[in-house]
């Protein structure tokens, strides 16, 4: 019975991350539009877009190989699994033993690899261009991400996400300077990984600037729906990751009664809402940077990660 309940909660989390992700994108777009004094589409628009894409005919280029057709499913699956592993409303869910920070980084890396391969598969210039840019961003973002992972794992003594969240939520760790650096670095990495504004603009198809959109330009119909859903889920994943690593307060444990779990869910949704508003504000006040500035931007994330590691070692004795 306990196993059933546990599996049930895990299933709820899996569905929840999938269902909330388009809403999150919708909220970000809506807030951005309101800041720019536009009315903006309804926050439910991403759902409608996905539904429309799912019903549309899927066009595949003549010279596309099987890779092109398989990639969307692979990307979607990898991102979904990764998002289901991040503890959002409760720690210690059934599959949390697999919820390793390194595993999540690897799953996202797999998704990115598949995207880049599919982009090059068609052989158009945009695909190759997008893929090479994406790989450049990834090669800079991943070391920074790993630095953050190492710092946090050293602090908590484990790489397992739900235990880290428990540790941060229960221990009075206070204002650690290394955590501050790691937080900043993770913010930068999250912006880069989700193709948000200082690095990439998610709402443009301008050939000079696009990274992620250039790679998925050839997709249509249900393939595109899967990819869009995957990128929305990825945004949710990174936001939840930041929340569960640095602000896991209010998260429930697995043994907690249903009411506490529901409370954890509400708190998580509220944090996501605040995160969406902050992201929208940030995207409005900051402008997209030149592609060659991105290397410096992500280099700064790597430096922050390094510093957080150094300070962790320095202050560990105290």
């Amino acid at each position: 019975m306990a196993l059933m309940f546990s599996l049930f909660m895990q299933g709820i989390q899996m569905m929840l991350v999938l269902l909330v992700a388009p809403l999150l994108v919708g909220v970000v777009r809506k807030v951005r539009a309101r800041i720019l004094l536009r009315r903006g589409p309804s926050i439910l628009q991403p759902y409608r877009d996905l539904w429309r894409l799912l019903r549309k005919e899927t066009v595949v280029a003549r010279n596309a190989s099987w890779l092109f057709r398989v990639a969307p499913y692979l990307i979607f699956a990898a991102v979904w699994v990764a998002a289901a592993l991040v503890p959002v409303f409760a720690t210690g869910l059934e599959f949390n033993w697999t919820a390793d920070l390194l595993a999540i980084v690897a799953l996202l890396g797999t998704a990115r690899f598949a995207t880049a391969l599919a982009a090059m598969d068609i052989g158009t210039s945009f695909g190759g261009l997008g893929a090479s840019r994406e790989m450049m961003v990834a090669s800079l973002a991943e070391p920074a991400m790993l630095m953050i992972v190492f710092t946090i794992s050293l602090l908590a003594g484990t790489t397992q996400l739900s235990e880290i969240a428990n540790f941060v939520a229960s221990q009075p760790i206070g204002l650690r300077i290394s955590l501050g650096f790691a937080f900043t670095a993770l913010l930068i990495v999250a912006l880069a990984e989700n193709a948000r504004i200082p690095v990439d603009n998610p709402s443009t198809h301008l050939e000079l600037t696009m990274i992620h959109e250039a790679m998925v330009l050839e997709y249509s119909g249900r393939h595109l729906a899967l990819i869009e859903a995957a990128s929305a889920t990825k945004l949710l994943l990174y936001m939840s990751l930041i929340i569960s690593l640095f602000l896991p307060y209010g998260i429930a444990t697995n043994e907690a009664p249903l009411s506490l779990q529901l409370f954890g869910m509400l708190v998580w949704l509220a944090k996501l809402g605040i995160g969406a508003v902050l992201l929208a504000i940030g995207e409005t006040v900051v402008s997209k940077m030149r592609l060659f500035r991105v290397a410096e931007f992500l280099g700064a994330a790597l430096v922050m990660g390094l510093l957080s590691m150094i300070f962790l070692f320095v202050f560990k004795g105290i």
């Binding site: 204002l175 650690r176 300077i177 501050g180 700064a300 430096v303 922050m304 320095v314 105290i318």
Partner: protein, 219 residues
């Protein structure tokens, strides 16, 4: 006590992080904003030290940092830049990423230098000294990696921020107020030095100025 140390570390760390932000900037106005932010963070750090040590004269230092370096000097520099039509792009001597990495090495170096030396001090002063020394070294790094005179002034002033942080971290430093006033005057002097230097450059040189006028740099 534990939280007090945490907060003072956090604020000092914020000042250090803003030193890296300074190193990262490529535009003059963004540099001024970052410097103003660093000075405000410094004022908060000093104010916290004043509160936790119960040393009321440190409040004066904090206020000086806030008003002079958080508001007046960035404003004055902005005025100078607009007035003189100085080129607003900072050209670093080495690439930004390399500068940042060098900065990390300087931080490691200062930690390695300060920790054995100040071992008997223990606790709060040791970390603050390490932070302050890294800020000083980063200021120097900034001065040697910028071709732009204004960038060098900002580097110098962030170095001075580090000095103030070092001075306030240690308990019982009565001369701090005087020192910081003296340094602020020196900085103002430096600012005007650049001012005059720029005017002279503007009128004496012929070739470069003609070129920069064609670029739309000067009026």
């Amino acid at each position: 006590m534990e939280t007090s140390i945490d907060i003072s570390h956090f604020l000092a760390g914020a000042v250090l992080a803003l030193s890296f932000v300074l190193l990262y900037q490529a535009r003059l106005f963004a540099l001024f904003n970052a410097f103003a932010m660093q000075s405000i963070a410094l004022a908060m750090a000093v104010g916290w030290q004043a509160y936790s040590q119960g040393a009321s004269h440190l409040y004066i230092t904090a206020a000086l940092a806030l008003v002079m370096k958080g508001m007046l000097i960035p404003g004055a520099l902005r005025w100078v830049v607009v007035k003189m039509g100085i080129h607003r792009q900072i050209d670093p001597v080495v690439s930004v990423n390399l500068t940042l990495l060098l900065g990390v090495f300087l931080v490691i170096l200062s930690i390695m230098v300060v920790f054995p030396v100040a071992k008997m001090e223990g606790g709060i002063a040791r970390e603050d000294l390490a932070f302050a020394l890294s800020i000083i070294l980063l200021g120097m790094l900034m001065m040697i990696t910028r071709r732009n005179a204004i960038g060098q002034v900002i580097g110098f002033m962030s170095l001075e921020n580090g000095l103030i942080l070092a001075a306030t971290g240690a308990k019982g430093m009565p001369l701090v107020v005087e020192i910081s006033v003296a340094f602020s005057v020196l900085i103002a002097f430096f600012v005007f030095g650049v001012f005059i230097f720029r005017i002279r450059e503007h009128f004496d040189t012929i070739d470069v100025d003609a070129l920069s006028e064609m670029r739309g740099d000067a009026e």
